[in-house]
């Protein structure tokens, strides 16, 4: 998606100059990117996964729009913001789920299913969230790495690139961070 990188940078620049067309295009591009990512996260099996992906994308997208586009320098920066928004959406739902047993609304059910597949891998999303917040204090890079990888669906290569590390370093540090989180969440 190298050409996407350039396109995003160009559009951001145009937007900074006050080009409203650029804003629209920018959002279309980012929306597609989000969709692709959410699609990957939700698996690719059919209608329900599409629904799940759409539900998630909508929420993440809304949050990003609210946060404003002004602050992003490039696509990498956007991805980091998206991963963070994703984390917030999921934690939000996880926390709510603790309080109300089940939402009958179709969209909510779809998100619940996605939540299940996350909790399958995180044991307890709320605890993970707290642990990540803690970790950000002494190991901010890896806290962001978890955000990018786990919540944002970035590949190892992508995440390493975004954090400016070699793949090897990333993997080494990831393993330690993961083990630490595991002890915190367990």
């Amino acid at each position: 998606m190298a050409s996407d990188d350039d396109a995003v940078r160009e559009l951001l620049a145009a937007f900074d100059r006050g080009d409203e067309e650029a804003r629209a295009q920018l959002f279309t591009l980012l929306y597609d990117e989000l969709r692709a990512r959410a699609g990957k996260l939700a698996g690719r099996h059919g209608r329900h996964e599409t629904l799940r992906a759409t539900a998630i994308v909508h929420e993440v997208y809304m949050r990003l729009v609210h946060a404003g586009v002004g602050g992003w320098k490039d696509r990498a920066h956007f991805l980091a913001a998206a991963a963070r928004a994703m984390r917030h959406v999921l934690i939000d739902y996880a926390r709510k789920r603790g309080r109300q047993k089940r939402q009958a609304d179709g969209v909510r059910v779809a998100v619940e299913e996605l939540l299940d597949s996350y909790e399958d891998r995180a044991i307890d999303l709320e605890a993970l969230d707290l642990a990540l917040t803690k970790m950000a204090e002494f190991n901010p890079e890896m806290a962001q790495a978890v955000e990018l990888r786990f919540f944002g669906g970035a590949s190892v290569e992508e995440a390493a690139k975004l954090l400016g590390m070699t793949k090897r370093t990333f993997e080494r540090r990831w393993e330690a961070a993961r083990a630490w989180l595991r002890t915190e969440v367990g």
Partner: protein
């Protein structure tokens, strides 16, 4: 922890992980002798590291191994050295391995620790794998050894050189589509195909016979567990390796879609006690179906959809899908796959023998199911109707005259009922007993009277059944009575402690008792003792009803007050006609268990409505009616029929069975109940403070003492609080305050009708685009701002959390009569948002194909101040439990009242 310390942790972790596990403690103790805590931390990190998919991104494949090199290759487990990965299933990873002592290649399956999470599961795994290890049969993959290494369980088995049937089916599908793929073991289009498939199934069934004889049920027969080796022999793999609880977990994430297709109805319904060898027969039947047609009988996008199909739909007729399949083979397959246990082959041997007969071109034993049994799924839903039809059929048969072909038809019919009853008795299939039982008993009476003769063998069967009926009668009668007594005693004993849970538990016992006795009374309608035990009026809840002191003092004709009770239908919510209970006060009246609306009317004054769900374990229920004059600030809504118009998606989890529901004329509050009104009730009624206040760390009655003085909203929050909608009430608390105001909680239908209008709008701005950013739910900013910032502090207590959320409520909820918040066709305040609202409607749950009310949940409609407008409609509803644990700070109430005491 600071960055420097973490750098040290990282370095130690990095160096230690290269060492064998046994050397970790020594190494770390040497390296960090100054810091024992650090040693502990790194040790637990090292131990937490292996074999988990913890925080791997969810799209990265089902239970993908951790990124990086496979940790298992080269490792030794017992006598086995892992060589290469040859497969990954839901349960674990399969490796090719070398058994060092015997120098042979084997397969080793490794179960990562999270798969067997409870001690029970571990114990079961060990027990069953031991039994499985003793099974030796040419159609079973032999287990060589079972072991444990740390948290990891593993077992070693024969390495089978071949393919599994799922690969074979995939290949066959490809072959059929491509016409000329590479030839495989089974050529689909060849003449021999059907015979070859039947022969494979004979082998598989033969394997089942051996295992079942040893008391092991597989529970997960599916193509990928049937290996086909080069010699064409079927080998069943993974026998007896406890997986049903595990697969529950796995299917939660939708990753085990492959498994759902082959589950039997009793597994889907989680009737664990009914899972026996016939479950394997069912699943093998599904495999047969798939081999013959290359389609799965039940399909769906998610496990839930597939499960729904398995329990609610008939598979497409095999011969319609694949016309070339001979009728006998189709019958064999359908018999194996029968939905009801007693319609299936009763043993794997019977299944195998019938398949063999088909191959040998002999007549098979199975008969196509008669229509009424195929339609078994209707029995649950329309049981009464079905029973009626059955009796009618029997009556027809009995009245059918004697002799000729009709005689034999009638004879067969009666014989069939006796047989079916006998099978049901044999299987202890209690739910299948009453109708055939009643029919069988009538048949027996007819036979006694000599009007029907089934010949010598028929008479023998009849005698046998008569004896068994007598045994059944005395056993069930005694058991029912004991359960009834036990349930009542339990309820008494646990009164006051964890009441919701105990009440549901003991009412289960009582419900079970009443059901069994009721079933018995169906079979013995003329037996006085049975009928008396089943018509357990003496076990009914007792209701005491009186007028509140204020009403007695104020109403001139209070002495002429009278009460009625109206049943609320659990399924449709329709309120039935009124049953007179007589003048007040009413003392100790026996009322059958169920959902009731009690109506108390004072002439020339008014009426009150009190809604109670009398679960069977309720022993006494004291009601005090506060009867008030006409309602104020309420909106009148004329009775009629409300069309829910739910689309397919929003019916997910929807409890409303009917597409439309009738309702009587009612009044509804214009606004949600405010704290001001709630406080007036607390003081007026001298009621105990809500449980939620003690969650907030304050259990007193004076609202001014609520602990928010130091919060960010210190200034003026008290004044503002009074106008906010009340939240955090349990169902009972909400009911109590509504009744104090002479009103009641609305039903689901009433609330939806009031919010959505006669036309049933979904959004207040229907016809326009859904507004993603609508401020209508009081949320005009992203929800994550609502996450309390103090949550990042270490370990918040429950009280901290409650307070944090409550502060958000103080900030974001708006006054109940705030300008600009009239919504929907009826222009109610906050029809959409602010707080969700209680209804008195029970949630329905699907049990064995029919809907049953869940007595400890209620429907709650609308969204709270924290709900995103974009994910809500006027018809949004959730279920909320009635217990104290389910109290939340976004659910409040709006009261209703019927227009007339009785229609």
């Amino acid at each position: 922890m600071n960055p420097e310390r973490w750098a040290r942790v990282e370095a130690l972790f990095e160096r230690a992980k290269a060492l064998p596990e046994s050397e970790w403690p020594l190494f770390l103790a040497n390296e960090a002798a100054d810091d024992i805590e650090l040693v502990d931390l790194v040790l637990s990190m090292l131990r937490a590291r292996a074999g988990s998919n913890f925080i791997d991104p969810p799209g990265s494949g089902p239970h993908a191994p951790p990124s990086g090199p496979d940790l298992w290759i080269g490792r030794k487990l017992g006598d086995f050295e892992l060589v290469e990965r040859i497969g990954a299933g839901g349960m674990g990873l399969v490796y090719k391995a070398r058994q060092l002592s015997l120098r042979r290649d084997v397969a080793v399956k490794v179960l990562p620790f999270q798969t067997l999470s409870s001690p029970n599961q571990v114990a079961r795994f060990e027990r069953e794998s031991q039994i499985a290890g003793r099974l030796h049969h040419k159609n079973l993959v032999e287990i060589h050894a079972v072991g444990q290494d740390g948290d990891v369980h593993w077992f070693a088995m024969e390495l089978v050189d071949g393919v599994d049937l799922s690969a074979e089916i995939k290949r066959l599908r490809g072959e059929r589509e491509a016409r000329g793929g590479r030839p495989g073991l089974l050529p689909f289009d060849s003449k021999e195909f059907l015979g070859a498939v039947a022969a494979l199934m004979v082998q598989a069934a033969d394997g089942l016979v051996c295992a079942h004889a040893a008391g092991v049920v597989h529970r997960d027969i599916k193509p990928s567990n049937l290996l086909l080796d080069r010699a064409g022999t079927i080998r069943i793999v993974d026998f007896g390796l406890a997986r049903d609880e595990v697969s529950d977990r796995l299917t939660k994430s939708g990753e085990q879609l492959g498994t759902a297709h082959y589950m039997s109805p009793e597994q889907v319904r989680r009737r664990a006690h009914r899972v026996d060898e016939r479950t394997d027969i069912y699943s093998l039947g599904v495999v047969l179906y798939e081999l013959l047609t290359l389609r799965r009988p039940f399909n769906g996008k998610t496990s839930a959809e597939i499960w729904w199909s398995i329990t609610h739909h008939e598979p497409r007729s095999l011969r319609k899908v694949a016309p070339r399949v001979p009728r006998d083979l189709a019958t064999i397959c359908e018999t194996a796959m029968a939905r009801r246990l007693f319609d299936r082959y009763q043993s794997a041997a019977a299944f195998r023998d019938d398949l063999q007969r088909f191959i040998d071109r002999e007549a098979i034993a199975a008969k196509p199911l008669p229509l009424h049994r195929r339609a078994g799924r209707f029995v649950g839903k329309h049981r009464a109707l079905f029973a009626g039809a059955a009796v009618a059929l029997l009556a027809l048969a009995l009245a059918g005259g004697i002799g000729g072909s009709r005689w034999s038809h009638r004879q067969r019919r009666i014989d069939a009922w006796l047989q079916q009853f006998q099978v049901a008795l044999d299987l202890r299939d209690w739910s299948g007993l009453p109708e055939p039982g009643a029919a069988a008993r009538r048949a027996l009476v007819e036979m006694d009277q000599g009007s029907v003769d089934l010949g010598a063998s028929g008479r023998q069967l009849a005698d046998q059944l008569r004896r068994r009926l007598e045994v059944h009668r005395s056993f069930e009668l005694e058991r029912g009575r004991a359960l009834l007594a036990g349930g009542k005693a339990d309820h008494q004993r646990w009164k006051g402690q964890d009441r919701e849970f105990r009440a549901s538990f003991s009412s289960l016992q009582i419900g079970e008792a009443l059901r069994r006795l009721g079933d018995l009374a169906t079979i013995f309608p003329d037996d006085v003792e049975v009928v008396a035990a089943a018509a357990v009026e003496n076990s009914f809840p007792r209701v005491t009803l009186s007028l509140a002191a204020e009403t007695l003092a104020a109403a001139p004709l209070a002495g002429q007050a009278r009460a009625w009770r109206r049943p609320i239908d659990d399924l449709t919510e329709t309120v039935g006609s009124a049953i007179d209970m007589g003048p007040l006060p009413i003392d100790d009246a026996a009322v059958p268990p169920g959902h009731w609306r009690f109506v108390v009317e004072v002439p020339e004054w008014g009426f009150a409505e009190l809604v109670r769900d009398l679960v069977p374990s309720v022993t006494t229920c004291r009601l005090v009616a506060r009867v008030l004059a006409a309602p104020v600030a309420m909106r009148r809504i004329e009775g009629g029929t409300f069309e829910f118009r739910r689309n397919a998606d929003s019916s997910l989890g929807c409890s409303q069975t009917a597409a439309s529901a009738p309702f009587e004329t009612f009044w509804i509050d214009e606004a949600e109940l405010s704290n001001r009104e709630f406080v007036a009730y607390l003081e007026g009624a001298q009621a105990p403070p809500p449980i939620h206040w003690s969650h907030l760390g304050y259990g007193g009655r004076d609202w001014r003492e609520l602990p928010f003085g130091d919060g960010p909203d210190a200034d003026g929050w008290r004044e503002r609080w009074l106008d906010l909608p009340v939240v955090g009430l349990t169902y009972a608390e909400a009911t109590a305050v509504a009744e104090w105001y002479g009103k009641r909680l609305p039903t689901h239908v009433e609330l939806e009708r009031a919010q959505r209008g006669a036309a049933g709008l979904y959004l207040p701005w229907e016809g326009l685009e859904r507004r993603e950013d609508a401020g209508a739910c009081n949320v005009d900013q992203p929800l994550w701002y609502l996450i309390p910032s103090d949550l990042s502090a270490p370990k918040p207590t429950p009280t901290d959390l409650h307070r944090a959320y409550y502060r958000n409520y103080l900030r974001y909820a708006v006054p109940t009569r705030a300008d600009g918040y009239r919504h929907g066709p009826e222009q109610l305040f906050h029809a959409f948002g602010n707080v969700a609202e209680w209804s008195s409607t029970l949630l329905l749950e699907e049990v064995e194909g029919r809907l049953e009310p869940k007595r400890f949940d209620r429907q709650v409609l609308g969204g709270g101040w924290d709900a995103m407008a974009s994910s809500m409609t006027l018809a949004s509803h959730v279920r909320v439990g009635i217990g104290a644990a389910d109290v939340n700070d976004h659910t409040g109430l709006r009261c209703a009242r019927s227009a007339a005491a009785k229609p």
